[in-house]
């Protein structure tokens, strides 16, 4: 499958849905990607199983606080220069790039890098959604070493990393991001084709295009588009899809703390009475509580959409008075093993609670 300029609207729309509130606004990355695809032509996707076992793959994307990217705009060529800096650092060519996270702008950065270098993009990603930390990626969970890695900042400064464990790498990169304007492009978690195959959520790039198309073709009230979404998710690596709530944002407070957007949003029903919902945010929507009772939690996907159009809304664009619906989607099976859950369950984000899969919570 190819990704062409015409696919970008759908890919971005699907990616914002899968970003569960985080991942940054893909509008600007999309403008840059469109420029790259116009200049260099379409990008070829390769299914993970079609990769040669000895292929050299590196994951590439942005790290930082999504709010920053509304102001400090990326530059054309940042992704390509990051990849070039990585190749110079390791002294070999890269065969394919892969996304850290399909959610948000990070779904597009590998396309920009691949277009500029004429290489392949792997159809899949390391999260199947968006998540705030590197050790939450499937690559790290599967034991892939995060380095050699390089980070490239807005001013073109290059930093290299040699740390062997991902949590420490995450700590370093986060600290660097905070003093580099809040956003970095990194090439990290290099893998061979053989290492990548069991360590990836497969098919998510092409799925994101299909999801965006479904959202576009069924554009309208959230409750009316639900059946089409349920059908699409049921036939994917995800599974259940439910509408949890419809109402207004009555409060939202987030602040940039330690390089993340942290806070919560409160939703009240359209009428005067009824239960209210609180959603905890750390870049992404992580836990949804109805009158204090958990109705969905990470790693399942919690998505806030505009009630009237079904358009997903990023956490940094969420604001007082918006009329929204909340969807929840079951996470891919990769995250459901005890080993994987350790990295992505609510406790990993500081919430004192177990993960209860969406299917097990009463409708």
């Amino acid at each position: 499958m190819q990704i062409t300029v015409e696919d970008l609207d759908d890919l971005s729309l699907g990616a914002v849905f899968l970003a569960t509130g985080g991942g940054g606004d893909p509008y600007v990355p999309q403008l840059l990607t469109a420029e790259a695809l116009k200049k260099y032509g379409p990008v070829e996707l390769i299914a993970p199983e079609d990769l040669a076992d000895d292929a050299h793959v590196v994951s590439i994307g942005g790290v930082g606080a999504p709010t920053v990217s509304l102001e400090m705009l990326p530059s054309l060529g940042e992704a390509v220069r990051t990849l070039e800096a990585y190749e110079n650092h390791v002294g070999r060519k890269v065969d394919a790039v892969v996304s850290f996270e399909i959610g948000g702008g990070n779904s597009l950065i590998p396309l920009m890098a691949a277009a500029g270098r004429g290489i392949l993009v792997v159809d899949g990603d390391g999260m199947g959604r968006a998540l705030p930390e590197a050790q939450m990626m499937t690559y790290a969970i599967a034991g892939v070493c995060p380095t050699p890695a390089i980070a490239y900042d807005y001013a073109g400064n290059i930093t290299t990393f040699t740390t062997k464990d991902t949590p420490t790498y995450e700590r370093h990169i986060r600290a660097l991001s905070m003093v580099s304007g809040g956003m970095l492009t990194t090439a990290e978690h290099p893998m061979t084709g053989a290492q990548l195959k069991p360590a990836i959520i497969p098919g998510t790039v092409s799925f994101s295009v299909a999801l965006g198309r479904t959202l576009r073709e069924n554009r309208g009230r959230a409750d009316q588009m639900l059946p089409a979404l349920q059908k699409l998710f049921a036939a994917s690596v995800y599974g259940a899809c439910r509408m949890l709530f419809a109402g207004k944002i009555s409060d939202k407070a987030t602040r940039i703390i330690g390089g993340y957007d942290i806070g919560e949003a409160t939703l009240t029903p359209f009428g005067e009475d009824g239960s209210s919902m609180v959603i905890n945010i750390k870049n992404e929507y992580l836990v949804a509580k109805l009158d204090g009772k958990v109705v969905a939690s990470v790693p399942d996907l919690i998505v806030i959409v505009d009630y009237e159009s079904g358009t997903p809304i990023n956490a940094e664009r969420l604001r007082y008075g918006q009329r929204v619906a909340v969807f929840a989607v079951g996470c891919p099976d990769f995250f459901r093993t005890p080993h994987a859950l350790k990295a992505v369950e609510p406790r990993a984000f500081g919430f004192d609670m177990d993960f209860v899969p969406l299917e097990q919570i009463g409708a």
Binding site: L70, A155, G321
Partner: protein
């Protein structure tokens, strides 16, 4: 007594309100100079009622002139876009995502300068005086006197914008400048685009406001004049001259507010049917429901707060297929009166269908001799289906809702709409916009830097809100109607932990105390804010 005026593309409407009730209304044609149309409408309404000029306490004007100027790419000045952002954002210059025709109307004079702030207040790069001076020298060489300046994170720290503006002003004394931090919140491209559109309209705004003032002087009106802005509040003349772009979308806002006033309904769907489109909006608690998505004006993304409007290509002039099963979006527009079949023309329009069905008596029915009953029946059904489908998408839930029909094309709806619990066709529906302008509201705003570690967040927000309410009431709002329109919090991370700029905007109806409000000045020293 107050006069509300709506300057539309075709008609200039005027209404006279006493104690908030419509006493008289009139429709005049909009003239090329605008002034004559307003004067004519004023003449009619004052003559008709015998009210003397000194009884008028305020005149409120809603105008689509600035929106139309952007949409039609006319009256726009050449503008220099100065962005202080390098080394970030290279390759994404100002106007990069604008339609070519409007970017060219402004001249594509873009300058990207080194500087701007990081989120934590650390400079991205020092400002470069030589670079700024070279930019100014270029402006002088090109004779550019309109400049929009945007810098990275200016809502947190506007010093770079102010610094460059001071240098430009010193070198070009008659320059007109819009600084992006005065136009909106976080989101550099949208904020910059809003500042650019505003700057392009500044010269036009001077002419428009002067024309309004002239119309009042000609008529001997000495009362204050206000212009309605997109959130339904009022601006005074000097503010309009600085921020004309804030009038964008005031038309739909006025139409919805007018429909609310005419029916007394605060929760309803309003369908405003014109010549080319039907604009469907939603009243919630008496106010337009706001759009959640980034709104484009004439193809340009901005971060203004706008009412949520769905435009359907169905109006009185919409062209109908031979079988009646397809209508619009093409329309003969204002040429309806020459091209429609009932007017002796050759095009089957939606208006012809209504005449054919016998529901309205317009023009000459004999022009329809070649149109079959089947086509008319299909066409009428299509009109209702199109509206039902669109209304259904705008409804808050599947229950039927009250629907208010306004606008000159309201005759197109002959039967029942499935989505409607009750269908209202209020008297004076044709001048809903002018009524909306006349009952426009008073805003109040307050801002404070607080530390949530010493003052809990809910208490801090309450304190700032109370202050804003006080200001709105002082400016003439009825305290019982004041509601919070926006709460905006900007964390300032480079100051002590927990420092946040809290800004609250409240809006209320004008108090009817012998129309005392008319003499008060609305508090609009600061333009609308976007939440981040």
């Amino acid at each position: 007594m107050r006069i509300g005026i709506d300057v539309g593309g075709t008609h200039t409407d005027a209404v006279l309100l006493a104690n908030n009730e419509v006493v008289a209304s009139t429709k005049a044609l909009t003239t090329a100079d605008v002034l004559t149309g307003i004067t004519n409408a004023l003449d009619t309404i004052l003559k008709e009622t015998g009210v003397s000029e000194d009884q008028i306490e305020a005149m409120m004007i809603g105008t689509t002139q600035f929106t139309n100027a952007v949409v039609e790419r006319r009256e726009l000045s050449t503008v220099a876009a100065v962005r202080i952002c390098l080394p970030s954002g290279a390759g994404l210059p100002p106007m990069v995502d604008w339609p070519d025709d409007i970017a060219e109307a402004l001249g594509r004079h873009t300058y990207m300068l080194t500087g701007g702030m990081q989120y934590d207040g650390w400079p991205m790069a020092p400002l470069d005086d030589a670079e700024i001076d070279a930019m100014i020298a270029d402006l002088i060489k090109l004779g550019i006197t309109n400049v929009a300046i945007a810098s990275v994170f200016s809502p947190m720290n506007a010093d770079p914008e102010e610094y460059v503006a001071a240098k430009v002003r010193a070198a070009i004394p008659d320059v007109r400048i819009t600084l992006s931090h005065a136009m909106g919140r976080l989101g550099l491209m949208e904020r910059e685009s809003a500042a650019l559109l505003n700057t392009a309209l500044l010269a036009f705004a001077d002419r428009v406001v002067d024309a309004f003032d002239d119309a009042m002087t000609t008529r001997g009106l000495k009362c204050p004049m206000f212009v309605s802005q997109n959130d339904g509040t009022l601006m005074n003349s000097s503010f309009v001259k600085q921020f004309p772009a804030l009038t964008f979308a005031s038309g739909p806002t006025n139409s919805l507010r007018g429909a609310c006033k005419l029916t007394g309904l605060s929760d309803a769907i309003v369908v405003d049917i014109g010549g080319t489109t039907s604009d469907i909006g939603v009243l919630e608690g008496g106010f337009p429901r706001e759009s959640n998505v980034v709104i484009s004006v004439g193809g340009v993304r901005t971060n203004f707060r706008m009412p949520d409007i769905m435009a359907v290509g169905l109006g009185g002039g919409s062209i109908v297929s031979a079988d009646g099963k397809t209508i619009g979006p093409q329309s003969v527009g204002h040429r309806l009166v020459t091209e429609g079949l009932v007017f002796g023309g050759n095009t089957l329009t939606a208006t012809d269908l209504i005449v054919g069905s016998g529901a309205a008596d317009i023009g000459d029915k004999s022009g329809l001799s070649a149109v079959s009953d089947e086509t008319i029946k299909n066409g009428i059904a299509t009109i209702h289906q199109m509206l039902d489908r669109a209304i259904d998408m705008m409804k808050p839930n599947s229950d039927p809702v009250p629907i208010i029909l306004v606008g000159g094309g309201a005759v197109l709806v002959t039967g029942n709409l499935k989505a409607a619990s009750i269908l209202h066709r209020p008297e004076n529906a044709g001048v809903a916009n002018a009524i909306g302008a006349a009952i426009a509201q008073i805003g109040g705003e307050s801002e404070r830097l607080v530390s949530y570690s010493t003052l809990p967040r809910d208490e801090a927000i309450k304190a700032v809100t109370d202050e804003a309410v006080g200001r709105a009431v002082e400016a003439g709002a009825d305290a019982s109607t004041v509601r919070v329109a926006e709460i905006d919090e900007t964390a300032i991370p480079y100051m002590d932990e927990g420092n946040t700029r809290v800004r609250v905007k409240v809006i209320g109806d004008i108090a009817v105390l012998g129309d005392k409000a008319a003499t008060a000045t609305p508090n609009n020293t600061t333009p609308v804010q976007e939440q981040n």
